[in-house]
Amino acid sequence: MEKHITLPLTEELAKSLKAGETVYLTGTIYTSRDAGHKRMCESLAKGEPLPFDPTDATIYYVGPTPAKPGQVIGSAGPTTSGRMDAYAPTMMSVGARGMIGKGARLPEVVDAMKKYSGVYFGAIGGAGALLAKCIKKCELIAYEDLGAEALRKLYVEDMPLVVIIDSEGNNLYEEGRAAYLKKNN
């Protein structure tokens, strides 16, 4: 099933999304990966504010290539989400509800998703040139010294994603594979 959704990712919208659904996402998202998450969580531990309002926010785990002249952004596919597992529950606890990445998540992350109505979206890993086409605006907002890992605010239109884990903890990685194997055995 295909859905077109517009951010912010409110609790109501998050709860309406189910694992396995293809969604085309439009709205503002923020980029962050390993080093950016580490810094944001250190800020939160010190009681300092984040560089953006995390309420109902969606974070894209990506470190893009530099933009060529005339491009909004370089190639921008997802990185492996598991490396952000140590930080994701903290980010959800302050309101960041959506995560875009690829690969498996730890049970603690899924538990936090159930608690805070989080959604984990998958973008196609290795399709950085294609995904860059959906990114219409890109603004560097913090941690410029981190280069590709700096925090960026993006505006995306119809970004093709798949709901991998929904707010009830249903997981496409488990269910998709099981359904395929059932059909073929």
């Binding site: 690829k102 594979r177 395929y180």
Partner: protein, 280 residues
């Protein structure tokens, strides 16, 4: 003896870094298209279609196929009758990487220390692998290696009694553990034999071999075919969403080893298996 100025290597490495990151090798494209034609699971078909569109965009617009433009793995097959002049060979290669990653708008993904981190800012140093061969030419291969897949690689020092079954089980176990993380459909490079370090090198070299080639030894050629088929029965599928296409290729490279051992290394790569060569 032939003299080669190291500045030639700088130019070639610069060019290969850019081209390898923008244009997927023909054998890899063909393998992906072949798998798309055989894929019978709807969500998997959709993913493979997008993967094909992606490398077509990269080709046409000369942009990186994937944002992880990798560590620059540079393989040199150096003819023993070559004499390098004009400077330090390692510096010349790193200068090529530096220029290629700058001019090609490629991502700088290297940190200067594995524990204390800190981006080097120019994607150097390259990982350089040299081999001395007969002749007076130098073959340069650049294989940018992404780490989503590198992180899912594994090595094991088997007892010889583990036999062929031990290796087969280890390949399946490694792919199973990797699951959706290395951006399947993946390419699997297997190195068997040699020493601890040589087995890992063989696995990396296996990833550089065209996917439409076979191991020249029929025993290992059959094993390549058998293991690829077994991996594609796991149902992990493209991106791990389920489906037939979990791997698009599996290459095995071997070396003699010690009477007491049977090292086996598995280097995982994604569908963006990049490499480009030039002979100087």
């Amino acid at each position: 003896m032939r003299e080669i100025n190291v500045s030639q290597l700088t130019d070639v490495v610069e060019k290969l870094c850019i081209e390898a990151n923008q244009h997927l090798p023909g054998d890899v494209k063909d393998a992906i298209k072949k798998c798309r034609a055989c894929e019978d699971w709807e969500i998997a078909q959709g993913v493979l279609d997008k993967i094909i569109t992606n490398f077509e965009i990269a080709d046409e617009q000369c942009v990186p196929i994937c944002q992880d433009t990798g560590m620059a793995c540079v393989f040199l097959e150096i003819g023993q009758d070559v004499h390098f002049v004009g400077g330090d060979l390692t510096d010349a290669i790193n200068e090529g990487v530096r220029r290629g990653y700058d001019k090609g708008y490629l991502r700088k993904s290297v940190v200067k220390d594995p524990v204390r981190r800190g981006n080097t800012g120019d994607n150097t140093p390259a990982m350089i692998y040299t081999e001395i061969v007969p002749g007076e030419e130098v073959k340069v291969t650049v294989g940018p290696k992404g780490f989503g897949s590198e992180n899912m690689s594994a090595i094991r020092m088997f007892k010889p009694s583990a036999g062929l079954q031990g290796i087969k089980d280890f390949i399946i176990e490694t792919v199973e553990t990797a699951g959706p993380n290395p951006c399947p459909p993946m390419v699997v490079g297997v190195g068997i034999g040699g020493t601890f370090d040589k087995a890992a090198l063989l696995a990396k070299k296996a990833l550089m071999r065209p996917l439409d080639s076979k191991n020249p030894d029929p025993f290992y050629a059959d094993l390549e075919e058998e293991m690829l088929a077994k991996i594609n029965e796991l149902g992990i599928g493209p991106q791990g969403f389920g489906g037939k296409t979990t791997a698009i290729g599996l290459n095995i490279e071997t070396l003699p080893t010690h009477i007491a051992g049977m090292p086996c290394a598995i280097n995982i790569n994604c569908h963006v298996t990049r490499h480009k060569s030039e002979v100087i």
